[in-house]
């Protein structure tokens, strides 16, 4: 796993913070009473990069994001956006935040919503008009510009929510689960929007529960649990770190339950929804595994061998217990 070094040779801003790093979080701590929501997180977002934040519910992702946008005052540590402290005017101008909630004015039209948030970010005149038009195009809402936000479909509201977050064309975008509750078509459209934004050079922090989204969109992923980053790196680095060269075997077997349990236990696996989940060091070892099943009187219904994915890493690191 590759963890980026915090040391760099970047030029420094007047505050002494490195200027060229889009986002730098150093030893961030935030407590709410007895609960430590963020427990010493450090991370760095490079120019043009998309960093995925994965973590179970309550892991501290939202508190981390809210600290970055200046809505939460940390108890310790610091956040810098292009060298400026979180919450400063410079940081606010450089950051675009797309919250998970549909934070829109329901009785305003799409155009009016975008114009309102544009003005809040200091845009006016031709620049505002131009930016609103760009965002409507980007979100594929140009033909619905005059519709009230409350009358849009779920997917359109999501896209408008995203557009309102980047109306001022920020260099760093924080996306908090932008695809929650949308259909596959809208999700694809949102992916295209994000890819277009990245193509323009924006750096991005992308929070999601969908592993395939993180695999598709993110250059690196940070897995957060209990307020800490427990793993960080590219998809391949994370898999390599968690599973090395091992492969996963998923098998469905028929036979006496006691025999199935004993077989799974012998091979250090576990039963998930009636299917055996095992890990083997090398793909050639699968033959021995199946021979042992046959010797135990178990009948193989189906078997799959796969390279572990991000979800495997996530569950491996965070466990399967419910967190809600």
């Amino acid at each position: 796993m590759k963890v980026h070094s915090m040391a760099d040779a970047s030029p420094r801003s007047s505050s002494g913070l490195p200027e060229s790093i889009p986002l730098e979080v150093v030893s961030l701590v935030k407590r709410f009473g007895p609960v430590t929501a963020v427990d010493g997180i450090s991370l760095e977002l490079r120019g043009g990069e998309c960093l995925g934040l994965l973590g179970p519910n309550g892991a501290g992702k939202s508190t981390l994001i809210r600290s970055v946008v200046g809505r939460v005052i940390p108890d310790a540590g610091r956040v810098a956006v292009f060298g400026s402290p979180a919450g400063s005017l410079e940081a606010r101008a450089a950051l675009g935040w797309v919250p998970q909630e549909l934070a829109l004015y329901p009785r305003l039209t799409c155009r009016e919503n975008l114009a309102a948030f544009g003005r809040y970010h200091g845009l006016s005149g031709g620049k505002l008009t131009e930016s609103v038009a760009w965002c409507l195009d980007w979100a594929a809402l140009a033909d619905r510009a005059g519709d009230l936000a409350k009358n849009l479909s779920g997917g359109m509201k999501r896209r408008l929510n995203m557009a309102a977050g980047i109306i001022h064309r920020p260099r760093v975008v924080l996306m908090d689960e932008p695809t929650v509750g949308v259909d596959p078509q809208s999700r694809n459209r949102i992916f295209e929007m994000i890819e277009a934004l990245r193509a323009e050079g924006a750096a991005m922090v992308y929070t999601t529960h969908y592993m395939e989204e993180a695999e598709r969109l993110c250059d690196r992923v940070a897995i957060i649990d209990h307020g800490r980053i427990i793993a960080q790196g590219s998809h391949e680095e994370l898999v390599q770190s968690a599973f090395a060269s091992r492969s996963q075997v998923l098998a469905r077997l028929a036979g006496p339950p006691g025999e199935i349990d004993a077989w799974v236990e012998r091979h250090a696996g576990r039963l998930v929804d009636g299917a055996a989940e095992l890990t083997i060091e090398d793909s050639t070892l699968i033959a021995g595994l199946l021979d042992d099943a046959a010797r135990s009187g178990l009948k193989l219904l189906d078997v799959t061998m796969r390279r572990p994915n991000l979800e495997s890493v996530f569950l491996h690191l965070t466990g399967r217990e419910l967190r809600d």
Binding site: F32, R66, V72, R92, A103, Y120, G165
Partner: protein
Amino acid sequence: MIVSVARTALLSLRRDRAALAMSFILPIAFFSIFATIFGGRHDSTSKINVILVDEDHSPASLDLARGLEREDSLVVLTRPPSKSKGAELPEYTAATAEAAVKAGTAPVALIIPAGFGQNPVSFGGSQTGPAIQLLNDSSDLIAPQMVAGLLQKAAMTSMPDVMAEEGMKYTDKYIGGFTPDQRSRMKSSMDQWRKAESDGGVTGKGSASGGPIAVKSRAVVGENKDMVSFYAAAIGVMFLLFTASNSAGVLLDEAESGTLDRVLSSRVTMTTLLAGKLAYNTLLAFMQLTVMFLWGWAVFKLDLLTHIPGFLVMGLCTAFAVAAFGMLLASICSTRAQLGALSTLVILIMSSVGGSMFPRFMMPAAMQKAGLFTINAWAIDGFTNVFWRDYPVQQLWPQVCVLLAIGVALSLIARRIARRWEFA
């Protein structure tokens, strides 16, 4: 099954504090206010201020003045209240008394003219002497009638000698006169009455009847005016308060939807946001007042056009105070339901005590003073001064200052409380 449905509803009510407050606190609060005003459960009865000017200084006028002073329901003012200890201001004259009624110091002034004592009472409307002048503020419909009645009562009970002398004259004229012995006994009795009067022995507790004293009434404030302006202000302010709290409640919607967070992550600060909301709510309240007064002008012939400067000043100050009040309520509450319950409770109580539901002069003295802690009372007083008393703008300064001070204070408190939204 019926019990299950009822049980579920009861559980929901128990956990909805707003609904609980509306169900139990509001009725009790209202019952208490109305019981205090109309039920006689108060310690201090409402007294009527009467300015008395005695231009006659005759024994009869002095008797009458003493009789009025003995009335429990009147506060007789013969001179303006002194602003510094030990320095008494000169007594009211007819002119200063009229000005004082116009200024709202008292709703009624009585002027006993010179020459009144020569022929103070008459039976049968044949009085030839000068009549007592009763100057009144026609916004108070009760005070002049009460004072007129009590004046006749005082005449009947405070001047027995005068009444008897007048009776003797009628006896002499229509029956044929008294014998010397009768005259002697009558004189002796009258001397006793006079002594009793000078000793304060006449209680003035007798019942009033007839009208032996001639009184000329004249409205010096509100002549040819109806009460439309009063009701426009009284009802208007109450609804303004409701609108302002509802409008400020948008802040709670925005907090709940996450819009507030998003706005505060832009260049907009909490102070800027609240100032913007305050400006909008002030404008909205002022527009509401304008529409209401324009309606009064168009439909009820309210004299708006000759009072535009006063309306603008009072309208804007009232709108500002009301908007700040709404912002404060919204900042205190966490949810719309809480805001709805709290605003209904507070606004209805403020409106009843502050004179939006019935005029404050009908209330006990203590409640009239309590009304001074409400926006309603100051706003209604200000609008009454504009439309009823025809005050120029510069004379509205007490109401303007108080309303602006209320607005500023409530805004600052709201800003302070809104810190909970600012950062976590």
